[in-house]
Symmetry: C2
Subunit: 259 residues, 2 copies
């Protein structure tokens, strides 16, 4: 198969119509097969507020009771997913929008945690690639909302970064796969206060060195650990950077490439 790009786009891009338009135009222009994974947290948070559904975040994860599950399913799999699809179709970049529950492409289970009840939050067990391969071979972009289900048919709110990573790992058995985390930052910074200090490439050796020198922002360590885990599972490279420079990220002219 052609090279495959799996692109996660962060919520702050989706919240801004003009940024989203710029991002989607660049996405449509990428040559090769493409999967886009999105969230939409701020729109969900606003809808929950409008409906007076209290929201609680623990470790950056949304505690998902029944009413919150309904909100995130409506916002992610409904409003945002179909907006992205319709805009890409209008750009002559044919797209289909699904979530992890569709055709059981992702099998998940309700998170078990010793101390915290996250509610209807899912952790990924397995990615089934058959439908994804078939849709890509039909020359469709696949737009994925971060909702999954368990075997009983319970929908589950699931982290979009994790979904992008798990799909990239599974698809790397079938295609040269690049995983892109695009958001509002320029990449991995040497100096967290200096947006111009982006480290262009990081390999395992440099990563160890940066960690030993404590010259890497602590909040970036889990992201980089995940990136190296993806690479050791067969993903060709992982790119982290600014969603407003998607073409440059893909070409290695912007952001941080991990390989």
């Amino acid at each position: 198969m052609e090279p495959l790009y799996i692109i996660k786009v962060g919520g702050s891009i989706i919240d801004d119509a003009s940024n989203l338009k710029t991002f989607l135009a660049a996405f449509a222009r990428i040559q090769g097969k493409k999967i886009l994974v999105h969230g939409g947290g701020k729109i969900a948070t606003k809808l929950a507020a409008d409906l007076s559904i209290p929201q609680q975040m623990v470790d950056g994860r949304r505690i998902t009771d029944q009413e919150t599950l309904k909100v995130v399913t409506m916002v992610y799999a409904g409003w945002i997913n179909k907006q992205l699809v319709a805009q890409l179709n209008a750009l002559a970049s044919p797209s289909i929008g699904i979530c992890g529950a569709d055709a059981s492409i992702i099998i998940a289970h309700k998170r078990k945690h010793p101390n915290i009840d996250f509610g209807f939050v899912g952790d990924v067990d397995q990615v089934q690639t058959d439908l994804l391969l078939s849709l890509l071979q039909n020359n469709l972009n696949i737009i994925i909302a971060p909702i999954t289900q368990d075997e009983s048919g319970q929908l589950l709110n699931t982290n979009a970064d994790t979904i992008a990573q798990e799909i990239a790992k599974a698809m790397s058995k079938h295609a040269a796969t690049t995983l892109v985390y695009s958001f509002e930052k320029k990449g991995v910074l040497k100096d967290v206060n200096d947006e111009h200090s982006v480290i262009p490439t990081i390999d395992q050796a440099l990563y160890q060195q940066l960690k030993e020198q404590h010259s890497i922002f602590a909040g970036m360590i889990p992201k980089l650990d995940n990136a190296f885990a993806a690479i050791s599972s067969g993903v060709s490279k992982v790119i982290i950077g600014d969603a407003m420079e998607l073409s440059e990220l893909i070409n290695g002219k912007s952001g941080t490439t991990i390989s």
Copy 2:
């Protein structure tokens, strides 16, 4: 291809968890290829009320301003579509949920009306069958939410009965297609006040006779006109009846069969 069933399920079934469970179990048991078209009007109306978005209906159609479009897209393509998918998957009846915008399976345009501005309401121009055929050949049920888009990427709220009919017409070129309208009524009644007066079969000759005798409920005439239009476009038969008796409808043991 195997026989194809295109089933529209009415909103009052979706509103009731127990009725929905009964319906989906029967749907999962149908032999052959299956497409399910759903609405979800009452849930959308309730969400609009919870968000204090005023709703206005004209001739049974929802005037769809920007905020209402968001509500119906969230409810139909998000919450309801993914609930149906997850429940069918859990019944080992693999299903994918999409809307008319996905892969541009339906091309629509914003309704033009001389006197009434319906807002973001779509009328269907064309159904593209490629993706539908490919998904059915992958042994997936297709669950379709009644949201479409126009060529500019504008999402449009679109009548689910019409979508079911247009898909049935287009698919009848590829498979022996049965179109089922399942809802809370027993079928076409000879006496509108007597649920036991279901007319089991209606052909063109009987329909003319019933109309001349004025022995058919006026509200049923557009539905029957549509059914005969579908048949003259190649659909094998149209069945109208009780969603709680789906197996019997398919077998001709319940409801009204139009052919």
